[in-house]
Symmetry: C2
Subunit: 85 residues, 2 copies
């Protein structure tokens, strides 16, 4: 069994109004030294396979096909072997 | 200047219908070995400070006060020194 931890972020060139809104909220709490706030998605899933290679391939395919929009978003992930509990 | 990378995830005991929906979509693509899909938020921000300690304290406060709902969500973060460009 493998676990995959995936981060999907907006590309640098894409404006992030949600991030801007959160940044304004943070600043209104009195933190004036916060900048460049950007919001993305974080996805965890488990893959029932015994091969590290296969876990990576499946995670990459799922990101490309479903989790990330390749026009607007970048993704990166970590895959780790976990004990079958 | 420090960068903070924050993951906010639903607590294990809280049902995640969005994760379930994504998991069904993944399975409908033919990946039958995917399970325990959970969706969270990923937030990046920069902190204009020269102290590692202060960057950690600010990030933790912002998570507690704004980014995470402590009743339903857990958070963890990494803080790293970045060059002032």
């Amino acid at each position: 069994m493998y676990s995959a931890k995936i981060k999907v972020t907006l590309r640098k060139s894409i404006l992030d109004p949600q991030g801007k809104a959160v940044e304004h909220s943070i600043q209104s709490l009195g933190y004036n030294n916060i900048l460049d706030t950007r919001i993305g998605k974080y996805i965890e899933l488990k893959i029932n396979t015994s091969s590290d290679e296969e876990a990576r391939i499946i995670t990459d395919e799922v990101c490309k096909k479903l989790l990330a929009n390749p026009v607007m978003e970048d993704y990166n992930f970590e895959v780790a072997n976990i004990n079958d509990k």
